[in-house]
Symmetry: C2
Subunit: 250 residues, 2 copies
């Protein structure tokens, strides 16, 4: 059997045009699909790219991480320039490095950070308009911070899970939530050991409802206890969401 080398890829992408990370039979517009197609042309063999997790349609990444095994005979130094040359201009590889055979971008991940960006001004900045959710309302940031405190720690986040048929555990640990505000732009950063489908967007919608005064900042424990999607807030749209980074233990 041919000798293979395992590589870790870090990449950024503008998710606007894509159906999300995961390859689909019915669409050529997925990040995984684009990556595999270019890597297969490079390697001259079929390849399977594993991402740290799926990002949904329209969601962006600053530091998505993937792993892929390629024939060891290939020159590892040429992978990055080849990919950046043949991938479209909205997908960019930041780094490629050989890693141990046991490394798997999803299974080896220990921590992820997402950021959700909101522009509360009457009209979005034109240069950021595809990378921010326009929500032109005054927000009580202190109330949002108060609510975010009760989200920290290990909880059953079933109320914040978009997949109603989820069979697996919905228990996750949220380590940090930071809310930064500057000139009417808000960035909410979430760090945790794993995230359920749509979880960051539902967390954000819930915090925005708290910020509007439509939901009490003290209501988070009740929402968690309900274990019911309808107990949480609306799902914020994909354009404001970024997968910022994925951390690994090597």
């Amino acid at each position: 059997m041919e000798q293979v080398t395992n590589y870790q890829l870090v990449l950024q992408y503008d998710g606007t045009r894509y159906e999300g990370w995961q390859k689909q039979k019915k669409s050529s517009m997925t990040i995984q699909g684009k990556l595999e197609a270019v890597l297969e042309a490079f390697a001259g063999t079929s390849v399977e790219v594993n991402g740290s997790g799926r990002t949904d349609a329209g969601v962006h990444a600053l530091g998505q991480t993937a792993s892929v095994k390629l024939p060891s005979a290939l020159d590892g130094e040429t992978i990055l320039p080849y990919l950046n040359r043949y991938l479209p201009e909205d997908i960019r590889i930041l780094s490629v490095k050989p890693v141990s055979d046991s490394f798997h971008a999803r299974l080896s991940a220990v921590r992820k950070t997402y950021a959700y960006r909101v522009d509360t001004r009457s009209k979005k900045d034109v240069f950021e308009r595809k990378y921010v959710y326009g929500f032109p309302f005054a927000l009580d940031i202190k109330a949002m911070e108060r609510a975010s405190k009760d989200l920290l720690g290990t909880h059953d986040f079933k109320s914040f899970c978009g997949n109603k048929k989820m069979k697996k555990s919905t228990i996750r640990t949220l380590e940090k939530i930071y809310i930064q505000e500057s000139d009417g732009r808000i960035k909410i950063s979430y760090t945790g050991n794993g995230f359920l489908q749509y979880m960051v967007r539902i967390l954000t919608g819930t915090l925005l409802e708290v910020g509007l005064g439509r939901r009490r900042p003290e209501s988070v424990p009740e929402i968690l206890l309900a274990r019911e999607r309808s107990a949480a807030g609306f799902m914020a749209p994909p354009e404001g969401l970024f997968l910022v980074s994925v951390e690994y233990k090597y």
Copy 2:
């Protein structure tokens, strides 16, 4: 005759989709044309918007300034929200304020600042890709700074003028040129009392040729003396250029 009030408008735009600032009979895709159409719907009368100067097709603005006279009977407070609501998402009004009748966005301007952004990495950042010129070469910034010094002051900039049939004076004063570099991204800022057609883009192309080592940093005085477009460097493309601000004496 109906009483009119003169207004100063400051606006930003993503120039990617536009044929430039100036209204054209053959295209509806100009910034001036879009502004006049929305203001005419607002005012119920024909209006003429004067910009501080034309920006070319594909050029962006962070602080373009315009003046327009509108019937005094209209509520000035409602102009900004109306414009932002009905203008497309790539044009955003930052401020509207009443000014003296004698104010004219072009004739009253005393100073302008442009910025030109270059990404020298092998592939552009995906989120900035429409707002930066991709020029993937190592540049000698010190040499570019050396060359820029000889551009400062009052000179005949005919060699840097894109309009070969220019009848009027090509003498201008460049007050400042700043070159900032960070992680392979370069921003060149130009401040002066006025700029000729394509001048910033030709100045930038010339400085980039100096940075590449294709042109001596001491060659600027010869280029200025030549008063000949062919003596200067190439014209950098529009996507990296921003009109940053226009200053006035009131």
